[in-house]
């Protein structure tokens, strides 16, 4: 006969039941993840299936709207045989480089301008009207102006991507700065922070979710800017690929290029989300999702 103290017994049952509860919670998470992936795939499959069927029965005219199988063949031929402008990866690389440069410059510019104007009332009052004006300029027109000013090389595409990105990021950074909690700013000031320190340690962290929200949408915009730039004149890039395909009535080519663009956007999106999760890991989970 072994004697077990009731307290130890109690503690042991508690530990077991917690372990069970936690295992159950983990299983729930896994199931949910599987559900999400499953639903996403289901939607994709249904969408592509309907499209293909529609194309087969000519409800959706594949001459204009392509068909999934045709698109797939096109992508495959680009991968295996290359495009008329050279290998596919080179086109992707060129566009990605322009997009990326434009995105970085536009985002940094937008953030900087947003913070400076958001922090300085007078500058905001004076300059925001000009930013509004600049934002109403049609980008295609701007595209031609850039081509004249910067030439047909990479610079003009980057510039176009920059102006696509800048305004969105600026608007959010500006508002994010203004939304920063006044008690927190006061606290930092009293704790001894210089205006620059306040900007760095209070304003930017509190505007961060604003800025990140704009980055999510603006990478897509940068891509659009670069492609439009290539449309207006280029020797390489996805935009040229689309333009050629359009000219040759190759709807499959147009859509194939768009799908490649989408994949590029998703990859970058994934990176941004990673970064976001890292940056805002301090954030409270909504109620009901936090207990283990």
């Amino acid at each position: 006969m072994t004697a077990i103290s009731p307290a130890a017994d109690k503690a042991a049952t508690r530990e077991t039941s917690i372990a069970i509860a936690e295992a159950r919670a983990r299983a729930r998470l896994r199931r949910r993840h599987a559900l999400v992936i499953g639903l996403r795939l289901a939607i994709l499959v249904i969408f592509l299936g309907l499209w293909e069927l529609g194309a087969d029965y000519n409800i959706i005219d594949p001459f204009f709207f392509a068909s999934p199988s045709g698109i797939f063949e096109q992508i495959w031929s680009w991968i295996t045989e290359g495009t008329s402008q050279g290998p596919l990866w080179l086109q992707i690389y060129v566009t990605l480089e322009e997009t990326f440069l434009g995105f970085v410059i536009g985002a940094l510019g937008g953030i900087a301008a947003g913070i400076i104007l958001g922090r300085n009332r007078l500058l905001a009052d004076v300059f925001s009207i000009y930013i509004k004006i600049a934002n109403s300029v049609p980008r295609v027109v701007l595209g031609s102006v850039f081509i004249i000013a910067l030439g047909l090389g990479m610079a003009s595409k980057v510039a176009l991507a920059v102006v696509m990105v800048f305004f969105v990021v600026f608007a959010n950074a500006f508002q994010g700065v203004r939304e920063a909690d006044r008690a927190m700013i006061a606290n930092a000031q009293i704790l001894g922070a210089s205006p620059f320190q306040i900007t760095r340690t209070v304003i930017i962290p509190s505007a961060m979710s604003w800025i990140l929200a704009s980055l999510h949408v603006s990478f897509g915009f940068a891509l659009v800017g670069a492609v439009v730039g290539e449309f207006l004149g280029a020797k390489q890039g996805m935009g040229l690929l689309i333009s050629t395909a359009q000219g040759a009535f190759n709807a499959n080519g147009v859509f194939a290029a768009m799908i490649i663009l989408a994949v590029m956007a998703l990859v970058v999106e994934f990176i941004i989300t990673r970064f976001e999760n890292y940056v805002v890991k301090w954030r409270p989970a909504p109620f009901n999702e936090q207990g283990a």
Binding site: S144, F231, L232, K235, Q246, F249
Partner: protein, 316 residues
């Protein structure tokens, strides 16, 4: 000479107003055939859908040459900018006035009254040519409406949706619409003969032009370029549509190769056999333009400055 040595290494950039378009086919074909390399030239072709972009780049000095419509040289002269065609690719516009199958009542441009006519853009060559056709057939501006619908898909959609009853466009849009039977040819300007019939003269269209000032300092390069292009023109004249199509990048006919060849066969005749400007061509262009283009009205145009045959003459 020293200039030759220095410029031989230079890169020459040429803008093509739509590399995949058949009317500008000689540009890419020359590249594909390696004729630039044969001449020791390092030529880079850049695509630009909008003609204006190309001209602006040329005038800004960022590129050395443009493959585009000849009429721009005339138009720009009226604005004080001098560019000249040094190789003439085509002696016909390569455009066709198509009429929608839904409107069999339109049998000639004289029936355009009350119709909406598709053009690629206002102020474009298609605009002027369409109006010229109408006026030549006794209509007044205002009897018809022009609608800029672009080229390609949007043009086809406009026909299908009956937003235009007739419209002017180029290959491969023509072949596409003919194939589906949604439109038929009303006025064909793909061959020199039919163009003369329609417009009363040759209408030089696709050409290779450069800034007049550039020619002065780069005679050597200009000559080499002319050599290469003239060779290509001869190649076109001596080969069948299939043979030419085989030389072109696959993406240009990815939509439908047969259609591409068919279009090329129909339009091959518009190309000049030797790159030379047809004798009465410039006058026809000026006549058409000055009738409708506001910017040309009241301006004195010196046609001899808009082209030169110096280089094609010297080409072997």
């Amino acid at each position: 000479t020293g200039a030759t040595a220095a410029s031989a290494a230079d890169k020459i950039t040429i803008i093509v107003g739509g590399m995949e378009k058949q009317i500008y086919l000689p540009a890419v074909l020359t590249q594909q055939l390696g004729y630039f390399k044969d001449e020791g030239l390092d030529v880079e072709l850049v695509n630009s859908r909008a003609g204006v972009e190309a001209e602006n780049e040329l005038l800004a000095g960022a590129v050395q040459g443009v493959v585009g419509f000849y009429d721009h040289t005339v138009d720009l002269q009226s604005k004080g900018k001098y560019i000249q065609s040094i190789v003439q690719f085509s002696q016909a516009p390569g455009e066709v006035e198509l009429v929608s199958a839904k409107h069999p009542e339109i049998k000639s441009p004289a029936d355009f009254k009350g119709a909406t006519l598709g053009v690629t853009g206002l102020g474009s060559s298609t605009d002027f040519l369409t109006q010229y056709l109408a006026v030549r057939n006794g209509l007044k501006p205002g009897d018809y409406t022009l609608l800029p619908v672009g080229a390609g898909n949007t043009f086809i959609a406009a026909v299908k949706q009956d937003q235009i009853q007739a419209g002017m466009t180029t290959e491969p849009t023509i072949a596409q619409l003919l194939k589906t039977g949604e439109a038929s040819v009303l006025v064909d300007m793909r061959t020199p003969e039919k163009t003369k019939e329609a417009l009363g003269g040759d209408y030089p269209a696709a050409s290779f032009y450069v800034q007049s000032s550039w020619v002065e300092g780069h005679k050597d390069e200009a000559q080499k370029l002319a050599n290469a292009f003239v060779k290509t023109m001869k190649f076109i004249a001596s080969h069948s549509a299939e043979e030419i199509a085989d030389k072109m990048p696959k993406d240009y006919y990815a939509g439908n190769k047969d259609l591409y060849i068919q279009g090329l066969a129909g339009g091959k005749a518009m190309f000049t056999p030797d790159g030379r400007m047809p004798a009465d061509g410039p006058e026809t262009v000026l006549k058409v333009l000055s009738t409708f283009s506001k910017s040309l009205q009241g301006k004195q145009i010196d046609l001899s400055k808009t082209f030169t045959t110096e280089f094609v003459d010297a080409a072997k």
